[in-house]
Symmetry: C2
Subunit: 127 residues, 2 copies
DNA sequence: ATAAGTGCAAATCGTTTGCGTAGGC
DNA sequence: GCCTACGCAAACGATTTGCACTTAT
């Protein structure tokens, strides 16, 4: 049962795993698990509320156990991503709820922008 | 020159247009313009700073003339999107800059969450 | 025998790329 | 002749789906 192995991989993971990374980790223990099976299991786990996924950039979604929800920043230039405490969203979240009745999901999509390093490189051309 | 027609379509558009919608609108005036040409032109316009694109959900990106930058909300349930004034991001933007040196891009990706209507439907099941 | 779990290949969607060609200079 | 602007078809990456098979119960 691949389901159990997927659960173990997710439980042991420290950070965010793409479906592809999960497939790789599972295949180290069960070589013949196919990507479609992984996607099906992830979908089921998500419906059960065990895991969540987030979109950090243009690429593949990442998955991790539900629980401590945090925000994400993605640099549009270097594509690195950063985790931020979800408290940064407290005020915005309240404002959006008051103005639009919109309930913000703090972790599902990363905020886009330019990281400190890339901002420095932009202002100092040949560095 | 398809470039001129694309520019007209973008200038006349009120809201956000997907590449596919732009292709359709252009083809009403020049039937044989191919999608790849549209993408190439959009890429050039974006490099020139004439237009910007945003990701509003899981689907296709949307394009519009650069200028008044606003934020976007996308409902994860009904997939509708809403524009919000970029001032909503002022505080968060300042905080991220102070804490991480991260410069927020307010329009590039939509904030994800649940809209008022879908929240109401969730709490009132058979409505 | 029935339902659930799965592998594989093909399909999908948005977007990009390679290649060859037509026109402007 | 060379460069730009294309059209077309194929490639692409992430994900989904159809279908046949195997396994538990």
């Amino acid at each position: 049962m691949a389901k159990r192995t997927v659960a173990q991989v997710l439980a042991e993971a420290t950070g965010h795993l793409s479906a592809d990374a999960i497939t790789g980790a599972v295949q180290e223990r069960q070589p013949d698990v196919s990507p479609s099976t992984i996607y099906r299991i992830l979908e089921e786990f998500e419906e059960l509320g065990i895991i969540v996924h987030a979109h950090l950039g243009q690429g593949a979604a990442v998955f991790h156990l539900a629980g401590a929800v945090h925000g994400h920043l993605t640099c549009e230039i270097c594509k690195r991503t950063f985790e931020i405490p979800s408290t940064y969203f407290d005020d915005l979240s309240r404002d959006l709820l008051e103005s639009y009745g919109f309930e913000l999901d703090r972790h599902h999509v990363a905020l886009s922008g330019t990281c400190a390093r890339c901002r420095a490189l932009e202002s100092a051309p040949s560095g």
